[in-house]
Assembly symmetry: C2
Homo-oligomer: 557 residues x 2
């Protein structure tokens, strides 16, 4: 059995085995962490997953016979290590479990279809034999989106067999790709034709187009290019009853938008096999710069005014005071001439009443033609000035671009030291923004205790509101790591939903946010979701336990 994708990522963390990550100034960073969290106890992990103790596959010989009948040789695996890897995502809870080889609900087989026809046939076999089916793209879910429920026999579809680009339509600026294609492979395919998708989630290196669509993914440049739902012109979705292929048209007034029903459906209505994606011209100019505001509140005002001024920055990322401080601890300490320049810079900022240690940094990036970037920058400049922002230059922009995909690597290093680290995100309207930002911050701090760091940033702005993305750290409670995390997560999520925040801005629902979806959508909204799910998947075989509220889900307030 060679399911090649099994070795995509380190089983215990982020990235390929060959990848490593180095702190620019380890002493400075760990001193900052010790100052906030105190001493922590290293948390060991297994050397290898090869002898992992996983519950045996529950599939019968008949089940396996039917599955192997459909697939190419080697397309079905019940190997323990394979099953372990395909039974968890890459959230904090997943990593805590995986590092110790604890797989609470292993899948019963990893199955790799090599074509849409095989996939459809697998779904029919699954429907007939009442097997649950979980599509697995990059497996980077941080909301429990790919874990079996443990309540029924389950197969996990390794989508790496459907990962081919199909064609580019230059005139219509679209690309047709199979759902299992990874971010870098997609960009490599369309780049020679002068295109980019412009979709760069932090998971970009290891996640798939199908996963992006299934979770309503947003990327770091989505403020300009739009989140994934803006990119999907049409989609093919396999369902035990057949292939749903939405019309390939740019716009239509022909009933509820089926593409927007499938986008965000998390495998619960079928398996996305293919998509037509809208592309953009690769930008001629990329201009990213840093700015310092006296406070996060000042920066949020500026962000709102920039986005309401009818321009579309490729990036508008505003760190709150806590994240700004933490990012200083993370960077390389300036030495020699750089240190001298920084001293002058700090003196200059000080004269304007600004302080790196207590202010809020914004990275503002524009992409496009030279004239478009010039125009947009000029519009933004007026707003920035009005709110007292000082330029930190393009070095800050370059530094952000260099490190844009590396945060999950840092997470692994922090975990090794026995520190809980996780992120969560929401969005809300501008009038509620600062209140929600403070309320969730306080809820996290309350739940984490004094020895903790809670920081946040605004990363996606809309005319009517913006996202808030939190990172939080605290010493692990040894032996109670999962319970500790669940307590913290519940406190934050309840604060979000009770105060007008989105249950998720771009991570989706999965199993971890499911308990709140009734509070979030309201009784009638939750009833719609359940009714639609039940009518399209009456046997509940399509990624059960995700997204859709279950009768015994209690409001977690």
């Amino acid at each position: 059995m060679t399911i090649q994708s099994a070795n995509r990522c380190k089983w215990w963390g982020w990235g390929k085995d060959s990848e490593s990550f180095h702190l620019p100034d380890p002493d400075q960073f760990w001193a900052y962490i010790r100052d906030r969290l105190g001493e922590t106890k290293p948390s060991p992990r297994l050397d290898s997953l090869s002898n992992v103790d996983v519950r045996p596959s529950q599939l019968s010989a008949d089940d396996l016979k039917e599955l192997t009948r459909v697939c190419e040789p080697g397309g079905v695996s019940t190997d323990n290590t394979e099953r372990a890897i395909f039974s968890l995502g890459k959230g904090y809870k997943d990593l805590v479990q995986m590092r110790r080889g604890l797989i609470p609900n292993p899948t019963d087989a990893v199955v790799r279809p090599e074509s849409e026809a095989q996939l459809l046939e697998l779904l029919r076999v699954a429907a007939q034999r009442q097997l649950a089916v979980i599509p697995f793209g990059g497996g980077t879910s941080v909301v429990g989106g790919v874990e079996p429920t443990g309540e029924r026999k389950t197969i996990t579809l390794d989508m790496s067999g459907l990962s081919r680009p199909i064609e580019i339509n230059r005139e219509s600026a679209t690309a047709v790709v199979q759902a299992g294609i990874m971010g870098p492979d997609l960009e490599r395919y369309i780049r020679p034709a002068g295109f980019t998708l412009g979709h760069f989630p932090q998971s970009f290196m290891h996640s798939t187009v199908g996963g992006w669509i299934a979770t309503r993914s947003a990327g770091q440049n989505s403020t300009k290019y739009g989140a994934i739902e803006k990119h999907v012109q049409s989609v093919r979705l396999a369902h035990p009853e057949g292939i749903l292929s939405t019309p390939e048209v740019p716009a239509a007034a022909a009933g509820p938008d089926l593409v927007q029903m499938i986008t965000g459906s998390e495998g619960a209505l079928g398996v996305i096999t293919q998509a037509v994606l809208r592309l953009s011209a690769r930008p001629k100019v990329r201009d990213y710069r840093g700015y310092l505001f006296r406070s996060f509140a000042d920066g949020v005002q500026a962000a709102r005014e920039i986005i309401q001024a009818d321009i579309a920055p490729a990036l508008l990322r505003l760190s709150d005071e806590h994240e700004t401080e933490s990012s200083l601890a993370l960077r390389a300490t300036p030495k020699g001439t750089a240190a001298a320049i920084e001293r002058v810079g700090r003196w200059y900022l000080g004269r304007k009443g600004l302080d790196l240690q207590t202010g809020a940094i914004m990275i503002l990036g524009f992409e496009g033609s030279e004239s478009a970037v010039r125009h947009e920058r000029a519009v933004a400049a007026k707003v920035l000035k009005r709110h007292g922002a000082a330029s930190l230059g393009s070095g800050a922009g370059r530094a952000w671009r260099r490190g844009r995909f590396s945060a999950p690597h840092l997470r692994d290093m922090v975990l090794d030291r026995g520190i809980m680290i996780d992120t969560l995100e929401t969005s809300t309207t501008w009038d509620r923004y600062l209140d929600l930002h403070a309320t969730v911050h306080d809820a996290l701090r309350d739940a984490l205790g004094e020895r903790s760091v809670v920081m946040a940033h605004l990363s996606h702005s809309y005319t009517d509101g913006g996202s808030i993305y939190y990172t939080f750290l605290a010493p692990q409670e040894e032996g109670d790591e999962i319970e500790q995390w669940e307590r913290v997560k519940a406190a934050a999520t309840t604060a979000i939903v009770s105060n007008g925040g989105a249950l998720s801005h771009h991570h989706s629902i999965g199993s971890e946010h499911r308990a709140w979806i009734r509070d979030y959508l309201g009784e009638e909204g939750a009833r719609w979701l359940s009714t639609i799910k039940r009518s399209l998947d009456p046997d509940n075989i399509l990624n059960p336990g995700k997204l859709v509220p279950e009768p015994d889900d209690t409001a977690a307030k």
Copy 2:
């Protein structure tokens, strides 16, 4: 009984009774029509609808008692004239019938709720008593969206009792309004705060926010501001089971997008009662100009390149050669100095190989700040030059803006002369655009015969494609007006769906496009739509007969 909205529009045509429309140069226009269609025989219409012969209401005394219990006094009417007016939309077929007082399937009562609570209670009464319910906003449907099926007792909800604006949120740039509010009332409400919705369908003067959402309406400026689905942040929808209120957040990854399910649902899943709409700043500058291309094909290339250059014109409207010619017949003939200037202009165009009589006119409009309009115009200018367009100046732009809502008035005048006139629209990807344009043109001409005019324009451009909007005229076949129209409509619609066009770009499905939805969405797509409808409206009381394919709908190919 005083259902005030009954007098909103002329019962036999478009606009208020007080409105009238004058051709700039009637002799020239009618000469053009005679040249193409030959002599036609005037088509009479009733003087008044007051004695219209309408099947009596089928409601029982108990039905009426229950309905009147819920409403304010005078909120339920079974008056024949009222019922006639609320039983048809404003499409060609509707007008042919209404002008003769033929109401094939009259509603059984017009009911006017004055609050969401009353409306919800009415739905419960309807569910209990198995009455079909049709929401009626402005009643401007051109796809049979408001007509009863005639198969069951039906009540029509006059939404004019829920037409109040509720509040503006300046910080989040949104407005909360009841669904029955009309276009002009909405713009008047938000204008003092510096906002516009930017949504101007041709029906703007007489249609409602709820109608726009229910039909996935697009407006004349939607290329910049986005079609209605981009404006709806959240929505309240009444369903016999309760009120579905979607979360008021700017963006979320929390399952299938319920707002995008409700947008386009045509009353078949519930009744939209309220919406939060995203607003834009009123533009400081409006700059509309005309251009002449040698051919429609040249203009389409230019349109595609403009929209793919990452700018957003407020209007990009390109008439094909037939529509260009027809628009010359419609305008005032220049006299005196104007005629002299036009002669010079034609000589100048001729030197560039362009001819008003055989070319294609584009109206290109930009809106926004002075610097934004300057930037966008500069980007467009390069493309226009590359494709040999000659400027016709801002007079052409002003003329378009003056007449932007008047085409339906012209329709009434043409109908009086015994001429069939109707419009239909689609969209497709750029690579298929010119082929589809020609194919549908030919299908219309074939169905209409030699004595006909078929013309089209591109009005909405996207990076991946554009819309096509047809207008067609032919002498009415006396006594067979409806059959004639049905034959033509079927020929065009089949050509659209068989050649990669959207079944509708912005008119929606209603009852008139329903027969094609199975071909358009495919078997599995149609099954989804039917399954969702059945699961959420098991008794099929919510605007039955619209949108959702029925078992005996045959592919009309």
